[in-house]
């Protein structure tokens, strides 16, 4: 049971406090309710680029990192399709430094041209390092593009293409800040060796004077139900074929989410999962094979992804995956299997809760979903899932009409080298 206190400042900033006297540290976590899904389709990758700019100086403080490090602190941040989260950890005695730093960059950035120019380069290198200069690095660009017709989950957090990032202007940065970075779109969680009253006073002192700003109301086009299977057959300079197939699944707050999550574990999480045991170990079709999903806030994707053993065709591989799915849809899961994934979930939740930083981020996330108290209800919801629920979900989710299949072939070197790579990418974007 994770205890916490919650209050809202008059400017709309939600503040949560989680006391844990067993640590000498404090964590200050600021979540902004903006992710890649909120981007302009012609300016993708902006939420993430913006996250970098949050370290490029705020209105009164030139160097965020230096000031935090002086106080013995460390920090980082991440952007997902759904949200942007900033967190720092420092000795609890120095917690006010974090309030000073975080409130100043919520008040206003310095909007430095130099910082923007440099971070465009840095993010471009990140783009290359993680997606362009890496075998299979563009696989999920292609999958998202195929699986979503209207929802902005269509693009990756890093952005659809380098050009979008390179073209970002200071005016874009200011507009984005004004729209998303204000108290009414943020959640502050303070955790660790702190006292609630002290946090309340500090929050009032540093964040209280910041103007509320306008609440951003998300109106995203929701993805229509998919009614025909989609397929893409593509190739790249990789050594072996890869296979990925996805199905649309319920959103994070949908009561069905828990059964689908456990179903994905039974199918393809870990060395004793069905897909791994039968298709990797017994039939030698794949060298690795996983079933997973991203836990997206809006309706997301359930994926089966693996790399093939050389000599196996993608058609054979897919047929074998489908056979496992058919088996599940026919016979459901055993009591022991269900028990196993519930035990695993209990253990995973306990391990996550070991770190104060992770507890703080979870509290912020559940508050974003609507209620931080959800954090204490998760295990119960997983425990309540029945074998029948999973059987039903296997039949509802894992249908061919709801699926997107990507064959990612290893091209013969010469063939790809002869073709114009850039043009090929553009075709896939259409």
């Amino acid at each position: 049971m994770i205890q916490f206190a919650r209050f809202v400042l008059s400017n709309g900033l939600k503040v949560l406090v989680h006391e844990d006297a067993s640590t000498p540290m404090a964590v200050v976590n600021v979540l902004y309710d903006v992710g890649a899904r909120d981007e302009d389709p012609r300016r993708t990758g902006f939420a993430h680029l913006f996250e970098h700019l949050m370290f490029g100086g705020s209105i009164n403080i030139a160097e965020y990192d230096d000031e935090l490090q002086k106080a013995g602190g460390e920090n980082n941040a991440y952007t997902t399709n759904d949200l942007t989260n900033y967190y720092c950890q420092l000795p609890a005695a120095n917690i006010e430094t974090a309030f000073w730093l975080e409130s100043d960059r919520m008040l206003s950035l310095a909007f430095s041209k130099k910082s923007l120019d440099v971070q465009i380069k840095v993010v471009s290198e990140e783009f290359k390092e993680h997606y362009l200069n890496r075998p299979y690095g563009d696989l999920w660009f292609k999958m998202r593009q195929m699986a979503y017709e209207v929802h902005p989950y269509k693009w990756m957090t890093i952005g659809r293409e380098l050009k979008h990032i390179e073209e970002a202007s200071l005016a874009d940065v200011k507009t984005f800040f004004g729209k998303h970075y204000n108290p009414s779109n943020a959640i502050l969680v303070v955790a660790g060796n702190v006292v609630t009253e002290q946090v309340y006073a500090l929050a009032e002192k540093w964040f209280g004077p910041i103007p509320a700003g306008e609440k951003y109301h998300r109106r995203l086009p929701q993805e229509p139900v998919q009614t025909v299977p989609r397929r893409l057959d593509t190739s790249a300079l990789v050594p072996v074929d890869a296979f990925v197939k996805t199905w649309h699944m319920p959103a994070r707050l949908d009561p069905r989410y828990y059964a689908v999550d456990l179903m994905s574990d039974i199918l393809g999480h870990g060395a004793s999962s069905r897909l791994y045991q039968s298709l990797v170990k017994e039939q030698h079709l794949f060298t690795n094979l996983d079933c997973y999903h991203f836990g997206s806030s809006d309706a997301g994707l359930l994926a089966v992804e693996g790399r093939l053993v050389r000599g196996i065709t993608l058609e054979e591989a897919e047929a074998a995956v489908q056979q496992q799915i058919a088996l599940l849809q026919e016979n459901g899961v055993t009591t022991a299997e269900l028990e196993k994934v519930k035990n695993k979930t209990e253990s995973t939740l306990a391990f996550e809760d070991m770190s104060v930083m992770s507890r703080a981020a979870s509290l912020a996330y559940y508050e974003l979903l609507g209620d931080a108290a959800l954090i204490n209800e998760e295990l119960e919801k997983y425990q309540a899932v029945t074998a029948t629920d999973i059987l039903n979900e296997s039949r509802a989710v894992l249908t061919e009409n709801n699926s997107n299949t990507l064959y990612y072939r290893a091209a013969a070197e010469a063939a790809v080298l002869a073709g114009d790579i850039e043009n090929e990418d553009e075709e896939d974007d259409d």
């Binding site: 490090q69 420092l90 200069n133 990789v238 045991q277 035990n343 809760d353 080298l417």
Partner: protein, 426 residues
């Protein structure tokens, strides 16, 4: 109105008195040492078995890693699937990893399931069977994985720089090759297993919310095994560094980035310079606020990240600078690394920067010691490197007190471009 231009008062972390939580020690009747940290709020536990079974001890390349990986893929009574199913059923994870000197087994799970988990670990340590079909699958899978990895410039650069530092015949410099992978045989694995695991030198590290009878549980399950706590006879391996210094390797004609590795030999952690070098390394490239990151990422934008570090080897180590940079700015990035070395050699680190770094290291150390797994990790590092508790406090003393002059002297001794191998893989 609050003054937002001025930082609120803070305590210098450098003034903190950081203590390492004492470790409990118990010796099983076969001589195996057990170290334990009992702490934490969650009902979870981690047990780690350390064996002197790294690639230092193999007679042929890749045998140690294969033995370590396949250890849990079958016993006299259980298939790989049955073993995996058992750990998974109790929500536990059972991992293994192989390093240069040591090889580990790592069990994590809920404390209450421990009595159901330990007997299977015992079975693995007494009756692992290394089935032919598991070995064949391992070889096939890893051959494909190697092909994929060889497409990655960073993977190639990491292998080559180690080879230049230590020579391919040294365990630190050796890397995976198709011919070695294909040559691994079952008998060889069984022999290695018998000598270095079943009858091998072992230490156990346990942490988390421990059951009151933890030592009795371990004694009951492992105390009668032919494991031992004696020193393992160490074969000597000679380091043969490359004679050429500069390397430019073409690996990926379409690549957009180059992998840069600059490295020089550095003594191991028993050397008196080690403590000061750790502080100097932080200033140079050891954290986000370092000189390298500030210049090459935050000012020039050549890279997403650049770091320097001291390798964690026992016999002899290396000081390494590592980054992935845009293909056309690799040479400029290397020049900047050398410029930063030059600055550290020629100018003493300013007082403000030095205090910042001291505070940062102390603050992050305090955070790193938060939690039972972190504390046992510290202890494990000290114990496996045969360093006493005093090493920890000496290190803190250096962080707090080392002078700018001493750091400059260390820079002059070690941060000399002529001593660094240069590897760029594009």
């Amino acid at each position: 109105m609050i003054n937002r231009k001025e930082a609120p008062p803070y305590l210098n972390a450098v003034d903190f008195d950081i203590r390492l939580k004492p470790v409990d020690k118990y010796v099983l009747r076969n001589g195996v040492e057990v170290y334990a940290i009992n702490a934490g709020a969650e009902e979870v536990i981690q047990v780690e078995w350390v064996f002197w079974a790294g690639n230092w001890y193999e007679k042929r390349n890749m045998v140690a890693a294969a033995a370590n990986f396949l250890l849990k893929n079958g016993t006299a009574h259980k298939t790989a699937f049955a073993i995996n199913e058992h750990f998974d059923y109790y929500g536990a994870s059972f991992g293994r990893s192989c390093y240069s000197e040591t090889a580990l087994l790592n069990l994590q799970g809920l404390t209450r399931h421990l009595p159901r988990l330990l007997p299977v670990v015992r079975e693995i340590l007494t009756e692992a069977s290394f089935p032919e079909e598991e070995l064949a699958l391992y070889q096939k899978t890893n051959a494909q994985r190697l092909d994929v990895n060889l497409k990655k410039n960073d993977f190639v650069a990491n292998r080559l720089i180690d080879e230049k530092l230590y020579g391919f015949d040294h365990p630190y410099g050796r890397y995976s090759r198709h011919e070695d992978l294909a040559a691994i045989g079952r008998e060889e694995l069984l022999g290695f297993y018998d000598q270095y695991y079943r009858r091998g030198r072992c230490m156990i590290f346990v942490a988390g919310r421990l059951p009151h009878d933890i030592f009795a549980q371990l004694e009951n399950v492992f105390g009668d095994l032919p494991l031992h706590g004696n020193t393992t006879v160490r074969t000597d391996h000679t380091i043969t560094p490359a004679t050429e210094r500069i390397y430019r390797v073409n690996n990926d004609p379409q690549g957009m980035q180059g992998a840069i590795r600059l490295a020089r030999p550095f003594p191991n952690r028993h050397h008196p310079d080690f403590f000061g070098a750790q502080v100097l390394n932080n200033i140079f490239g050891g954290f986000f606020g370092s000189r390298l990151m500030t210049n090459i990422r935050e000012d020039k934008g050549y890279t997403y990240g650049i770091y320097s570090y001291l390798q964690n080897h026992r016999q002899s180590s290396a000081w390494m600078v590592s980054t992935e940079a845009g293909r056309d700015v690799c040479e400029a990035a290397i020049r900047e690394v050398y410029n930063e070395m030059e600055r550290l050699r020629n100018e003493p680190v300013g007082e403000e920067e030095l205090l910042l770094v001291r505070n940062y290291i102390m603050g992050s150390l305090l955070g790193d010691l938060d939690g039972p797994f972190q504390v046992i990790g510290r202890w494990k590092n000290l114990i496996l490197n045969e360093l006493g508790e005093s090493h920890f406090y000496k290190s803190i003393d250096t962080i707090k007190n080392i002078s700018a002059e001493s750091l400059q002297a260390l820079a002059n001794k070690y941060l000399q471009p002529d001593a660094f191998y240069e590897m760029v893989v594009v």
